[in-house]
Subunit: 521 residues, 2 copies
């Protein structure tokens, strides 16, 4: 299956239905197809050839969604840049991928130096905003207006469709190569798992950053299911609530920190959220306290967890709504990341690649048509990640007798204290239940006695004070003694986060380790 | 994706749920997986190697479903034989495919000569019944009991998984080669289109013959969706009604003649059919009169049409329930065969392969991952059928502005009368509305004046008489003069039908044409 086929199908079958909506501005499937087919022609006329890389650095918009499809329509390769990365990191991605053209919007145009630096490294710059077009740049709408619609390039389903850079924060960004087949099979499976298109008039809210596979895949699944995509330029709790009310949103994907922010939004109860049917969450571990609070505040909303990573296009497991319960036969599964999707096999493997048994902790590995082609220009990392067809996720976890997988940590965030493995996520989950705790990150810090000691960094709710001793005593009720933090630090400033809103534990660890090397990875 | 993965997934995720049910005898997914994995081992131990062909000649049963998966589990190739074919035709299939092993049940064992002839042509014969095992045959249950469960063969998704013989009635049986990918993508798409697994406790009734792709694909979709399959040995109207009531069937696939038989069943209203949610129909054109009668009798049941053929694994278009209406904005679509599925592109092409415009009649062509690999040992027919990736269906039809395709006839059943194309299906649809008409077949017969003349063969309802002149006058209200039958013949004996319950028009035509050749194909 080819990525662009869904657009052609919707234009034929659902022509006048709404495809995209941003700030009340709507476009139909027929309009979307025409704009994509014209923009593809403009790219080709500007010198873009099949296989050429075309990057984008922009906030979310309907034009961002058109970009995905126009690049593929032209037979080229999309390279969505991380909006939270430094110029230096994005320059690495642009140069590493050999990007030829760059789409950029007002937000990033205003960072004069960054624009200049990025533009110098590409042949074609396309301005996506509505202000006067800067010199030496092409204008997005003009390109569409000046070109005729063309037929899509005749891609093969195994052709590269995009390079998605991940892991920039570790200093080693890797370009995940995905094919038409990777993205199509994954998005179609997600449509079936999440039952998006079963509602009468489904509307997907895209509030997460569209450069990231989590948000992108939700857009692509929605397009396959001809589900309207409502788009916010970026996540703002109040705007999310406004948009749900205005566009009658039925489904949305949020990462755990976004759910925290939504719950913290003062005006939460002033909005009519009755259209909202499902919140899909994922992309980083969900603290149980936050999830329970969200479920209590929105009792009619189904919560569904999606687990995976960019390398999996991006999902390999789903935890459906019915397992979000604390009672009955399904109790306990809420702590799971779910079970293998329709298209994936999941295995827990040891360091030698042997499959482990029920409840044994090892590395979570996945196999299926959604597993990436490899890392761009990086055969060593590709070989380290994919062995015998199994993608090694870097996540440590186990599988129970019913096939549910439970994450215990990132392999490299696991703390080895006194010879015992301590999983930071488990400790965080315990601390998050303590009244007054807003956010928590647990890391291993150097300890002469234990090798590593468990250390927690806590942010409290506004105008709330927590006591270190009380939290430690509280933890003893939930977790074994060796897992209880040896020390707790309180801080007011936000945690450093990645573009995908994950807490950057390597940054938090830095000041403790300085010149010392951690033993794990 | 590999065909057998769904069985492994269900065994892990839904272990104690019911997989199959026949005559009240139930097996769980875990049992099914174990039996399949043991039977595969038995096949391998008996000398079956990856790629070897393994045929079956049997009525429907849970063992038939196990056969599909065990053959694939062993890496071998299934060859389901047509239960309505003559021994000679099935011998052709066995020899043409180079079949090494044959599964056979009591029904076909009793045809002594056929068994002997078939058995002589294969190395291994496996008896599927529960009576004493004939000499020189292996016993199905013994094979399972004597062998340990093994892991499935590591197939590639592009490997051949089955050869399905079609067109035997024309004297030129062709073996349709399907891959794991063909069957998996098609079955998964069907699951999504038909929303089988969305119900609380879905149960699929398999009443059509399991050698045929229509019934087989419904079984495979059900397995992917972990939907219970209830199986009848063969279609009998009364048993269908009993089974719906007993097993609380929610979905079933029937071909049009089966729906006619169901409606004609005297005890129809004595059964509790309240569980029944959806009837999927297809495999041959549905006379509008029959459909409307069925919709009236079962007002709460959703009717959904699936259109395709074995070469499409087997579906390329779906007409969802909401278009089964005579009023409102969707009126008129009920006469359509539906719109392209999620995984297919459909085009109407002329004889030169050019795409035709809206409402122009040509050959219906389809493209997608479900299109067969080709015909076994038959590169000429493969090239004639698949041109530039487009499968030519042999069906004549057109597409309307909304993407709905309308079948007008088989290309070879079209009647050319006085230089005008007459589509037999259209004439049949008109006649089927005449009160008292049970079944009708329209064919072209030789005419000195018109080249071909439109001729109708009618079977009336029990104890009903129809008048030739009245039917002809009735037709004038619905169809143009040149399409109205010149002659009508009444007959009592059933129409000759294919294994897929399609009327064999070539047989009906035979006595009229004798030594004359028809110009069309």
């Amino acid at each position: 299956m080819i990525f662009t086929q869904a657009i052609q199908r919707n234009s034929l079958l659902y022509k006048d239905n709404i495809a995209t909506c941003i700030g009340g501005n709507k476009k139909t499937w027929r309009e979307l197809e025409q704009r994509v087919a014209k923009l593809a022609n403009a790219l080709i006329s500007s010198g873009i050839k099949p296989g050429d890389r075309v990057a984008i650095l922009a906030l979310n918009s309907d034009r961002y969604l058109e970009y995905y499809y126009a690049v593929a329509w032209a037979g080229a390769v999309m390279v969505p840049l991380n909006i939270r990365w430094s110029v230096k990191e994005n320059l690495f991605a642009v140069n590493d991928s050999g990007t030829k053209a760059l789409f950029i919007d007002d937000q990033f145009l205003s960072i004069g130096k960054s624009l200049q630096q990025l533009s110098e490294n590409v042949e074609i710059s396309i301005y996506m905003g509505d202000k006067p077009t800067p010199a030496s740049m092409l204008n997005y709408e003009e390109l569409i207006n000046k070109h005729a619609a063309i037929e899509p390039f005749n891609s093969d389903e195994n052709d590269l469709i995009g390079i998605f850079y991940t892991g920039g924060t570790t200093g080693f960004p890797k370009g995940v190569m995905l094919s038409h087949k990777n993205i199509w099979t994954s998005s179609f499976s997600i449509l079936q798992e999440l039952k998006l298109s079963n509602r009468e008039t489904p509307v997907m809210l895209c509030a997460g950053p569209m450069f990231h596979l989590a948000a992108a895949a939700m857009c692509w699944s929605s397009v396959i299911g001809s589900v309207q995509v409502s788009i916010l330029p970026m996540f703002k709790a109040e705007e999310v609530l406004e948009c749900i009310q205005r566009d009658e949103v039925t489904d949305m994907l949020l990462v755990p920190t976004m759910i925290s922010m939504l719950l913290a939004e003062g005006g939460f109860k002033d909005y009519d959220l009755s259209s909202l049917d499902q919140i899909i969450y994922g992309a980083s571990p969900m603290p149980e306290g936050t999830l329970l609070e969200a479920m209590e505040l929105m009792p009619k909303v189904k919560f569904c967890q999606a687990y995976g990573q960019t390398e999996m296009s991006p999902i390999c497991a789903i935890l459906p709504a019915k397992y979000h319960t604390l009672t009955g036969e399904n109790a306990g599964k809420i702590r799971s990341a779910g079970r293998q999707s329709f298209i994936n096999q999941i295995a827990i493997k040891d360091e030698k690649g042997n499959s482990l048994g029920i409840n044994e902790v090892g590395e979570i590995c996945a196999k299926g048509p959604n597993i990436m082609m490899g890392y761009w220009n990086n055969p060593e990392q590709t070989q380290a990640a994919i062995k015998n067809g199994w993608l090694h996720s870097g996540d440590a976890g186990y599988m129970d007798d019913d096939g549910f997988i439970f994450l215990v940590d990132r392999v490299k965030d696991m703390i080895v204290s006194g010879g015992e493995n301590v999983f930071s996520a488990e400790v965080e989950s315990a601390i998050s239940k303590f009244p007054g705790v807003h956010e928590v990150a647990v890391i291993g810090i150097p300890s002469e006695q234990w090798g590593e000691a468990v250390h927690a960094i806590v942010r409290t709710k506004p105008n709330t004070r927590c006591d270190e001793i009380e939290i430690i005593q509280f933890c003893r009720e939930y977790i074994a003694g060796y897992k209880v933090p040896r020390s707790i630090e309180f801080r007011e400033e936000p945690f450093p986060i990645t573009g995908a809103a994950k807490i950057q534990k390597n940054v938090l660890r830095k000041s403790y380790w300085k010149n010392q090397e951690r033993n794990i990875n």
